[in-house]
């Protein structure tokens, strides 16, 4: 059984983000702190756990993006993915989830995967779309926000629990092949072992030019980016730490909270 994990590289959520001259994307530089989308780390870990519990499972990782994302494919291999695939796109700008999903689905059509895992959401674009769209293009069932999965012994079906509002769980059976989007907290992602790091360092990443693939046209258009209105922000308490602390205490006292 082959499993494909879709991984994305994102800028660290604590880094400042500034809009570029075009007004349509963010400015990235050589020192931008890129890392793997956290939700995808949970997806990789879950795939590796499946591999460790069932016979005859292999795990590959794929990413769609500009040259910089190859380091994230490599990171997936360091964690334990055997093969790394990088679909190389031109330019570093916003790619719609439909384009990413179409690209991955097109790769899957010539490579047979019983299970495709993605993170539940990317931390940068926050669309939560790619997994569901891959599934639809490939005509496979999909479950999102998966917090538990069990593949049946015959590998024909997977039982999953989705995390829904208020901590409830929706329980369903999906026929394989299927797509699951993995919710954070399903497991504790591992740190790469030294032997895997050494193996991954030497491994080749399969790089495919996106232009060589027949990707359908985008279905949405990013018109502009903007910063949230300052008026929506509260009062910033200024001064030294001590002054801020004193002021907060007096505010809370005024409001009869202490």
């Amino acid at each position: 059984m082959k499993i494909l994990i879709c991984v994305k590289q994102v800028i660290d959520s604590q880094a400042p983000v500034t809009i570029d001259e075009s007004g349509k994307w963010v400015k990235y530089g050589d020192s931008s702190p890129f890392r793997m989308n956290r939700y995808d780390e949970f997806a990789i870990e879950e795939a590796l756990r499946i591999k460790e519990t069932l016979n005859d499972v292999s795990v590959d990782a794929i990413s769609v993006g500009p040259p910089r994302v190859s380091s994230t494919v490599r990171k997936a291999m360091e964690m334990g993915a055997e093969k790394g695939i990088h679909i190389l796109t031109e330019g570093d700008f916003f790619i719609t989830p439909f384009e990413v999903a179409s690209t991955i689905a097109s790769y899957v059509q010539t490579n047979n995967y019983a299970l495709i895992l993605t993170g539940a959401m990317s931390e940068d674009d926050m669309n939560s779309q790619v997994g569901q769209v891959i599934a639809e293009i490939l005509n496979r069932p999909c479950a999102t926000l998966v917090m538990h999965q069990e593949i049946r012994e015959d590998k024909k079906e997977v039982y999953v629990e989705r995390e829904i509002e208020g901590g409830k769980r929706e329980c369903l059976n999906l026929q394989l092949p299927a797509v699951l989007t993995i919710q954070s907290g399903i497991n504790i992602p591992r740190y790469p072992s030294l032997s895997n790091v050494l193996r991954a360092r030497k491994a080749q990443i399969l790089t495919i030019e996106a232009t060589a693939m027949n990707i359908p046209a985008k279905r949405e258009h990013l018109v502009a980016l903007s910063y949230p209105e300052v008026s929506s922000r509260g009062t910033f308490i200024e001064g030294s730490q001590r002054e801020k602390a004193k002021e907060l205490v007096s505010i809370l006292h005024e409001k009869s909270l202490i």
Binding site: Q132, A143, E163, R219, P228, R233, G234, T235, R242, V249
Partner: protein, 328 residues
């Protein structure tokens, strides 16, 4: 026929979830801008009463589609049934809430209907007769304006972005109940399990001090706990990140998939302010946030904002509280 806006209702245990009424408010705003007519669609096993209630509360037409396999939400069943029905009314917009159901359903449905898909929408923009939608990116640090390129769009609406309105319609809408077409499906929803028994009383707490990933490590939890001890009737909350890391149990989690709270005071320590977290605490009377990042989105919903490293600031704050209590 007039262009339509289809609103897909969401329900649990035969009762419509309140976010559906926010989606109705969204659809009414969109209807004002586009002159398209909203219609509510509700799918389920036994939905007559819900459909009638919806028509009474909103004055909108309601279409109920009934069938055994629709007892629980299931993406495959919903996509199949909706595709079948939506073909006949050919709506320009199909909207639903950005909940665990909406985000599961919308992208696949859009692909099946050859529609654009825009998720977690917070605003509508209309310019020169063209409609675009506003949504957050980068943890709320930026806003994007996205325009659909196709004739049909599937939109999910961020809970909390629109208010549910008391519409008091003069007349009930028309209710039409249909039988679902039969289908075979590669996915079957079996049941919905309730959340594990709660042991933490967050509802009675007047003050909630909540820890985020920014506390840095489990050892720093004592700062948050000490801060909570300053107040009577206080409790400890957490972001999902903190629960995922195992620093606090899930019973502390505030937000979309955790608890919804509205204390008199909410102190967010090292929480970035993701929309999923905010949806669980935005009705707090006073929000104070401590975050090292001046651009953190949590400041957009805070009354008092403190840009500091909490590891050094909270000890100073504790001292000041103790001084204050000592002198009064």
């Amino acid at each position: 026929m007039k262009k339509q806006i289809a609103i897909i209702a969401e329900h649990h245990k035969e009762s419509v979830v309140s976010a559906t009424f926010e989606a109705v408010s969204f659809a009414l705003e969109l209807s004002n801008l586009t002159e398209a007519k909203p219609v509510i669609i509700v799918l389920g096993k036994s939905i007559k009463e819900m459909a009638e209630n919806l028509s009474k509360k909103t004055g909108l037409d309601v279409v109920g589609i009934e069938g055994g396999p629709l007892e629980f939400y299931n993406a495959e069943q919903y996509k199949f049934t909706l595709k079948y029905y939506l073909e006949s009314i050919d709506p320009e917009y199909i909207c639903m809430t950005h909940t665990a159901m909406g985000l599961d359903l919308a992208p696949g449905l859009a692909t099946r209907l050859d529609a654009s898909c825009i998720t977690a929408v917070e605003g509508i923009k209309s310019q020169d007769g063209k409609i675009s939608f506003l949504r957050s990116m980068f943890g709320g640090k930026l806003r994007a304006e996205i325009m659909p390129k196709l004739k049909k769009s599937v939109i999910t609406i961020l809970p909390g972005a629109w208010k549910a309105q008391e519409l008091d319609p003069m007349e009930n809408g028309h209710v039409d109940i249909k039988a679902a077409p039969s289908s075979i499906s590669t996915s079957r929803t079996i049941t919905v399990k309730e959340a594990e028994e709660e042991t933490l009383n967050l509802d009675d707490a007047e003050v909630i001090v909540a820890a985020g990933r920014g506390i840095g490590n489990e050892e720093n939890l004592h700062l948050v706990k000490d801060l909570a001890k300053i107040f009577n009737k206080s409790a400890i909350g957490a972001s999902k990140a903190v629960c995922d890391l195992g620093w606090l149990g899930y019973k502390h989690q505030i937000g979309m998939t955790g608890r919804t709270v509205s204390p008199r005071l909410y102190i967010a320590c090292g929480i970035s302010g993701s929309s999923q977290h905010i949806s669980g605490m935005k009705d707090s009377q006073i929000v104070v946030s401590i975050n090292i990042d001046p651009n953190a989105a949590i400041f957009n919903v805070s009354h008092y904002c403190i840009v500091e490293d909490l590891a050094t600031f909270i000890p100073v704050l504790l001292e000041e509280f103790r001084n204050f209590v000592g002198t009064t």
